[in-house]
Every structure is written in C-alpha cells, then in structure tokens.
C-alpha cells in the first residue's frame, strides 16, 4: 500500500477548510460554504469506507502504516490502523457530514467560520485515532481543544464563556501530566513509537505512576466521576453540532486511549488499578443516572446519560475480558450514534421553540408524529433495548463484568434499569401527555434535511442491533491479541 490513505484522511478536511477560508463569507445561509464542507466530509467518509473494505480483518498488526521522520532521531510521524481504531475513524467521518447538514438552523452567524472549525476538528480527531506515536497522539489530542473552545465560545448559548473556559482548562489540566509521562517514557525506553513500546514493554517500577498520569488525562476526557462536571456545561451551551461532535467522538478519544495506551503499555498497572476504575465506573453509572433523573433541561439529561454510558465503557475495558472490551468498543460506537441522534432530536425542537426545558413540551406525538417515532427509537436505543446497537454493547460489557467481578456487575445492572427510567420518563414528559403549551400546536414536523440525517443515524443503530457481526469481526482479532499480550505480560511478571 503506497498511497498514504490515512494522511489523506487527516489532510483532506484541512484542505477543505483552507478552501473555505479563501471564499467570501456571506451573511445568512451560506450555501456555497456548506456545499464545500459537505463535499469534503462526504469524500472523506467514502475514503474511510474504502479503508474499511480493504482492511484485512484476519490480523491484529497495524495496517496502512506510514512512517516518516519528523524530528530527526527523535519522533517519527507514524500512523496506522488496527481493528480497534478503524471503527472510530469511520464513526468520525460518518458523524461529521451529519453535523454539517444539521447546522441549517442552529448556527445563524459566521457559518463559514463554523464550518472551518468543524473541518479542522475532524482532521484532529482522525489523527488521534490513527496516531501510532505518543507525541503525535498528544499533538492531535490537545490540538482539538482549540476548535472546540471556539465552537462553544462563539456559537454557544447564554453561559458559553464559562463553559468554554471550563472545558478548555479542565482538559488541559488533565493532559499536561500525560505529557510528562510521554516524555518520561521516551527517556525510560528511548522511543515513543507505540508498536516498539508494545514489544519492549515498560519496566514495572515505572508503570503505576505513568498509568496514573495517563489516567488523569483520559479520566477528564471520558469523563469519569468526579471530574465529569465540565461535560454537562459544555454540552448544554454548545450549539447542536458542537454537542454532537463532543458526545459522539471527543468522549471516545479517552476510551480509545484507555484501550490503546493504558492497557497496551501498562498491563501490570492496569491490573493494579482495576478496583479504582471499577469503583469510579459504578459510581458514575448509578450516581449520574440518578442525577439524570432529576434534570429539567433535556440537553443536560442527555449529557449526564453520556457520563453513565461512558461509565459502562470504562467498566468494560478494565474487566480485561474479551467480551468486556469488545462490548466497550461497540458501546462507544453505539453511543456515538445514539447520543448524536439524541442531541439532534433535542436540537430539532430547540430550533423551533428555543427552549430546552422539558416542561415546555408535552404531547408532541399528536402534532409531530414522525419526530416522535424517531425520538422513540433513539430513546430505546439509549436505554439498550434488544434490537438496537445499545443492547449489544451493554450486554457484552455486563457479561464480561460477571466473569470478572459479580458484585460490580450486579450494581452496574441496576444502572441499566435507571437508564431505562430516566430515558422513558423523558420521553413520556416530552412526547406523551396532554398538549398544554399553546405554542406547540403550530410546531412543524421534521423538514427534509432533518428527516434525512435522523434516518441516517437510525439505520446503523437498527442494523448493528440486529446484525453486529461486521463490527465484531473487525475488532475481534485485535482485541484477542490485546488480551493475549496482556496476559503474557502479567504471566511474565
């Protein structure tokens, strides 16, 4: 494979952004800019699909690897994909065009700049998922803060400044310790190349501290309880497209980081800190589900549900069982689709009524039936109903958890019930009941573009719910080898 397909995936959005930068910004609905951005991201999506088709599922070694000298004798620009990362890349390239279609109503001013920010964000996110060098990973991981800060800060809601600052500083604070760890790894082992590090292994005496440094960054980004407080603020204030990107992809960077770096590089420390992760995950699942029950703001409720779902993900990863890790990956993909869809459904009614409060709504089913059906599908997928992709992930995670620790699994199962409770109650209060608010009577049902993007999201949710094989086949070999490598590392301790 000579053509640098991964680099072109990373670079294409930037090229699109540059092109947009040199077009003239128009007031109002800037169709040219939108078409350019849409075209770029759709092409990117097609490339990533091609990547998936030509991806060899029978091996766990990294494919499409590109290796170039970047800083002489120190850092190489190295990218590549394996079964785990390829799914996240496709998720990214799939969600971004949907975001771009959805900006129709939510972004009123400076549309061109908004699209530039989204495109740059996309290329950074793809970079995170295919980086095979710790420094390159860190660069992409941190660089994403800049466009997201601007997206929240410029196009956000009333408390946008506070939220943007909180988002930026929280994440930065978590990440600087990871930078210390990355440089220390360089001095301990002499390389920051992930593949080489997998082979060399890191001395046991350093592992615990390094693991904690990486953890501090990933825990904030995941977000895990108790450092999750930036997420509800950021979600609530961000424009719809920003919330979608944040929930669907940004949160997955940390889960991906846990699998790729925490498990892969520090197997012994991962074993040591499993109880910590279990505790925090279980608290996140139960505690934030209870908080979600009490929310009056729809976006906030979904934000808290994201924290609970990511609790399942971290729980699954650190079961260190085949099912657990596979479940976590599928849960992340599924949550990427479902949370994106939920934020978009909230965005649809918000654009019409300019209120995110649950009490504004009620009885929507009698005025906008199409919307209500799709909303129901996403709500059910979020609570993990069999037949939706949410079920596969949660089920596998719980299966892995039962193998490893019965008590934790039982408590986490309670979380599933709570998840059903807050989601169904939300749905009931918004869609069913009497139509009290007079303004709601004039509300319009989904327009064509909204209908299109929500259906685009509904299709894979249902498809993978019934037939998860394409996902599982892609990740299976990589996960098996990860577990084998982990076990052999533990055994040789």
């Amino acid at each position: 494979m000579n053509f640098p397909i991964l680099s072109s995936l990373i670079l294409l959005p930037i090229v699109g952004a540059l092109f947009l930068f040199f077009t003239k910004d128009k007031e109002g609905n800037n169709l040219t800019a939108k078409y350019v951005a849409l075209f770029t991201t759709v092409v990117n999506f097609l490339i990533s699909i091609y990547l998936w088709i030509s991806f060899d599922q029978s091996t766990s070694s990294f494919q499409f690897v590109e290796d170039r000298v970047w800083i002489e004798g120190f850092i190489n620009y190295k990218v590549g994909v394996d079964g785990i990362s390829i799914l996240f890349i496709i998720l990214t390239t799939f969600i971004t065009p949907i975001c771009i279609i959805s900006v129709n109503n939510s972004v009123k001013n400076r549309l061109r700049d908004f699209l530039i920010a989204i495109l740059i964000m996309e290329s950074f996110m793809i970079g995170v998922f295919c980086a095979l060098d710790l420094v390159v990973f860190y660069l992409f991981f941190e660089a994403g803060l800049i466009p997201m800060f601007l997206i929240i800060g410029i196009w956000g809601g009333a408390r946008r400044v506070y939220s943007a600052f909180k988002f930026f500083l929280y994440t930065l604070l978590g990440s600087v310790l990871m930078l210390v760890a990355i440089i220390s790894i360089y001095w301990i082992t002499g390389t920051t190349d992930v593949i080489q590090l997998y082979e060399i292994g890191i001395d046991v005496k350093y592992q615990n501290l390094l693991w904690l440094a990486f953890f501090s960054s990933f825990a904030v980004k995941t977000p895990m309880w108790p450092v999750h407080t930036w997420l509800p603020d950021a979600h609530v204030e961000a424009p719809t497209a920003g919330s979608v990107l944040l929930a669907a992809i940004l949160l997955k960077m940390a889960g991906y980081g846990f699998i790729r770096f925490s498990l892969g590089l520090f197997p012994i420390a991962s074993e040591v800190f499993t109880p910590l992760i279990y505790t925090l995950s279980v608290i996140a699942i139960i505690f934030t589900s209870l908080i979600a029950l009490m929310q009056e703001d729809m976006k906030k409720l979904i934000a808290y549900s994201s924290v609970a779902h990511m609790g399942f993900v971290t729980l699954g990863i650190f079961t260190l069982q085949q099912q657990g890790i596979e479940g976590s990956i599928i849960q992340m993909i599924s949550h990427g689709l479902v949370s994106a869809a939920l934020f978009l459904t909230v965005g649809v009614v918000y654009d019409r009524m300019h209120s995110r409060l649950i009490s504004t709504y009620g009885g929507l089913v009698s005025v906008i039936p199409k919307y209500s059906i799709l909303f129901m599908l996403f709500a059910l997928a979020s609570l993990g109903l069999p037949g939706t992709s949410g079920f596969i992930g949660e089920f596998l995670i719980l299966m892995g958890a039962f193998k490893d620790n019965f008590l934790v699994a039982v408590i986490a199962s309670i979380g599933v019930i709570l998840g059903a409770a807050y989601m169904l109650w939300l749905y009931k209060r918004v869609v069913f009941g009497k139509l009290i608010n007079e303004d709601l009577k004039k509300i319009l049902d989904l327009n064509r573009s909204e209908y299109f993007i929500l259906s685009c999201l509904a299709a894979p949710i249902l498809f993978f719910g019934f037939y998860p094989d394409p996902l599982i086949n892609t990740i299976e070999v990589s996960v098996t080898d990860l577990i084998n490598m982990h076990n052999s590392n533990i055994a040789s301790k």
Binding site: D25, V69, W70, I71, E72, V135, Y138, L139, E142, A143, L145, I146, F149, L150, G153, I154, R160, V161, A164, F165, F168, L169, L172, L173, V176, L177, L179, V180, I183, S184, Y186, W187
Partner: protein, 472 residues
C-alpha cells in the same frame, strides 16, 4: 597579530554609529536617512557575522577576553534580526508621537553593540563594559517619549533599579576575582573550588544581577512599570533583544567559570525558574493593560527558559535557546498586532480595546488567535514545541518537580491568554481601527504568524542549527 575578522561585526557597527552621529550633526532633517542607513548597518553586520563567524567552532581574541563560538554567532544573529525588525516597524509609531529623531536608531545600534560585546565576552571586565553600554542606551530609550510622564517615570525607575543591580553584579565580580585571582572566565573556572563559602556570595550576587536583567522573579519588579511606560516599540525591544544577551551571559557564567560549582547554583536557578513561571502566570490574570500583561507573560516565559538552563546539560542549553528564539518570534507577532490597534493617530493598549475585534478585523484576530494559543503552549503551534523541548531536557535529568510545576503553571497561564481570546471573539464589537498600516508591519506580522503556525511541519531545522552549540 589577532584575527580581527572575527570581531569585524562589532567594529563595523561602532564605525556606523559614529558615522551616523556625525551625519546627524551636520545634516538637517536627517532622521529618515539615519533610519535607512542604520537598517543597512544592521543588515551588513548580520551578513558579516554569518560570513566571518558562523563556521568558527571556538576562537579567542585579545588575551582570551573575547570568545567567538557557535553560541555567540547564533545569539548575535538573533539579536541583530530582532533589532532590525524593531527599527523597521517603529517609524510609524514614532512619527505619531513626533519623536522620529536620529537618536532612536543610534541608541538602538549602541545597545546592540553592547549586547554583542556581552555575548562574546570571556572576561569579567569585557562583560561589564558591554553590559553598561547596552544599559545606558536602554535607559535613554525607555524615557524616549519624554513629553509623557509615564515614559520619564519608566526611564527613571529602570535607571535606578538597574544601577543597583549593576552594583550587586560588580560586587559579585570582585568577590569572584578575589578568590580566583583572574578576570578571565577560563582561568576562573580552573581556580575555583566549591569549598569556599564566601565564594557562594559572589555567585549569588552575580546571579542576582543577571536575574534582574532578564526580570526573573523575585527581581522582576521593574518590568511591568517600565514595559507599560516605555513607548511600545521600545517595549518590544526590551522584551526581546536584551533578554537574548542576558540569557547568553547566564549560559556563559553558569557553564564556564561556575561549572564546577553546580551544587551551589543549581538550586538558585531552579528557584528562579519556578518562581518566575508561577508568579508570571498568576500575576498576569488581573491585568488590564496589554503591555503590563506582556510584561508578566514574559516573566513566566523567562521561567521556562531558565528551566532549561537549570538542567546543566547541553540539551538543556539548546532547549533554552530554542525557547527564546521561538519566544522572540511570538513576541514580535504580538507587538505587531498591538501596533495595529490605531485609530486616528491614537494607539490603544487596553485589553478591553480588543473587544469584538473579530467582527471588524477577522484576519488580525486570526493572527492574534494563533499567537495567543501559541504563547499558551497549545499544540500544534510553535509555542508548544518550545515548551516541549525544555521539558524533554528537564525530564532527562529526572527533575520531575520542576517539570510538573512548569506544566501546571501553563494551565494557569492558559487562562489569561484564553481571556484575551474571549474578549476578541466572544464580546461585543467596538469601532473599527485604521487599516493603513506600513507594509513592513503587515509583512512582519504575516511572516511571524505563518512561522508560528507551520513550525510543526519542519521542526528539525531549528534543532539542527542549535545542536551545534555544545558548551559543556
């Protein structure tokens, strides 16, 4: 016979200063021609420096009191480039305040000459001579806008405090001379041993004097006032050029005469570094004047530079030099933006004047965005790499505390840079500023911003240049 070609840059620049002075005396209204000629003088000096000294690995002159090596030639070139750019973008500002006189370029040239002598010094006396030459020129420059109270105040404050620190420095030098019996750095290095406690006082006095010159905490008090009061172009000069020379002196002192006394000075440098990083970050939060804010931010940047020096390794020195080079570019870009905040012959320098800038001046705001994120050290901009190299060197020596404190203070610093970005991008807009800037100003801003933005594509080049500097 000494090889005078090696000091040809210094000789040429002194001759140009004298010539320009004579020209100024005999020709009326000669400010414009003086400006142009002094630009050429700097340019030619830079070319001579590159030609004559860049390939020299290490040569000494005049009884080993002057040293020409890769460190001195690189630092001289950065100094000259900095001086050139300051001169090039000042004219519009000076004309506005009606201080477009012949003295300005001549004073800048004199201080550059002083710095070049400092950079090349290998002897206490030569070093002190250079230091005083540059300081005297700087005192006058600080008070150059003499009709304004603040400028005079800045000059006086700078003069009094700087004279005090020079006194301390001299006292330290005399102690060191007393113990070693020589003023030559190489000889001192052989004569000194760490058993003499009084010698520690000498080192401390010298370090205090130098710390004052680069405004490291706790000897920073003059910086905010002087930076605020001086004319903006002079502030630009202050924040870039003298720091390069003073940093070179730090390297020369610590790693030639005092290398064997590393136990005595390492803790001092670590303390200066940590104190500067934290104080610079925290104190900048409450500032409302951009120049004061830049003063505090330059204090914290000096902290990072010192962190590299504290490692006592070649990598550390190289990372400090990389840091200061990148810092010079970022600083230049920031001041270019500041000089563009002009409306009807009045310059604005409050942070609130930036409010909503992105609506009326999208390109300028984009440049500011890049510069500020780079100053905050966010990847993939140049400022991140500057910090990255420093922390690589620091962690190589297992100085974890220094690294973690440094990185945590970047988070604090990020707050006030974000605050400016917030004001530019999130707040309500004000009236438009004038856009008829001089071509040089636009050019400097564009080039420096592009350098900051695209540094990550070719990071190796700078490392290659700097890696020739091996002091230890």
């Amino acid at each position: 016979m000494e090889n005078l070609n090696l000091v040809l840059p210094e000789i040429f620049i002194s001759l140009s200063i004298m010539f320009l002075l004579v020209l100024g005396v005999f020709k009326k209204d000669s400010s414009k021609i003086t400006f142009i000629l002094s630009l050429f003088a700097i340019l030619i000096t830079a070319i001579i420096t590159i030609n004559e000294t860049f390939s020299v690995s290490r040569e000494t002159l005049f009884n080993e009191s002057v040293v020409i090596d890769s460190l001195s030639s690189l630092m001289k070139i950065i100094t000259l480039v900095g001086g050139f750019l300051v001169l090039v973008i000042s004219s519009r500002y000076l004309k506005t305040f009606k201080i477009y006189n012949i003295e300005y370029p001549i004073l800048i040239l004199s201080s550059i000459l002083g710095m070049m002598v400092m950079i090349s010094s290998n002897d206490l006396i030569v070093f002190y001579m250079g230091l005083e030459l540059q300081s005297l020129a700087l005192y006058v420059l600080a008070t150059y806008n003499r009709d304004q109270l603040k400028s005079s105040e800045a000059g006086l404050k700078y003069f009094v405090l700087s004279a005090l620190s020079s006194g301390l420095l001299l006292y330290g030098c005399s102690l060191v001379y007393g113990f070693s019996g020589s003023t030559n750095f190489d000889i001192i290095s052989n004569q000194l041993n760490s058993n003499e406690y009084v010698l520690t006082f000498g080192i401390v006095f010298i370090l205090v004097g130098l710390a004052f010159k680069i405004s490291a905490v706790p000897f920073h008090m003059w910086a905010p006032d002087v930076y605020e009061g001086s004319p903006t172009t002079v502030t630009l000069f202050f924040t870039m050029v003298p720091k390069i020379a003073a940093l070179t002196l730090f390297i020369r002192f610590l790693y030639v005469p005092f290398l064997n006394l590393i136990d005595q000075w390492q803790m001092i440098i670590v303390f200066l570094s940590i104190a500067s990083m934290i104080f610079g970050a925290v104190a900048a939060i409450g500032q409302t004047n951009i120049k004061r804010l830049i003063a505090y931010s330059s204090i914290s940047h000096i902290g990072y530079t010192l962190a590299g020096l504290a490692t006592a390794s070649n990598e550390g020195i190289q990372s400090s030099i990389i840091y200061i080079s990148i810092y010079v570019v970022m600083n230049l870009a920031l001041f270019c933006c500041l000089l563009m905040l002009r409306r009807k012959d009045q310059y604005y320098e409050d942070i609130s004047d930036l409010s909503g800038l992105s609506k009326n001046h999208p390109i300028l705001s984009l440049c500011l965005l890049v510069i500020l994120f780079s100053l905050a050290g966010i990847p993939p901009l140049a400022g991140f790499f500057a910090k990255f190299y420093v922390f690589i060197a620091v962690l190589e020596q297992s100085m974890y505390f220094l690294a973690i404190v440094g990185l945590l203070s970047t988070v604090v610093a990020a707050f006030y840079y974000l605050r400016i970005i917030k004001i530019i991008y999130f707040d309500k807009e004000k009236d438009k500023y004038d856009t008829d800037h001089s071509l040089w100003l636009k050019f400097s801003l564009t080039v420096s911003t592009i350098l900051i933005l695209l540094y990550f594509i070719f990071p190796s080049q700078l490392i290659e240049v700097v890696s020739r500097i091996n002091i230890i």
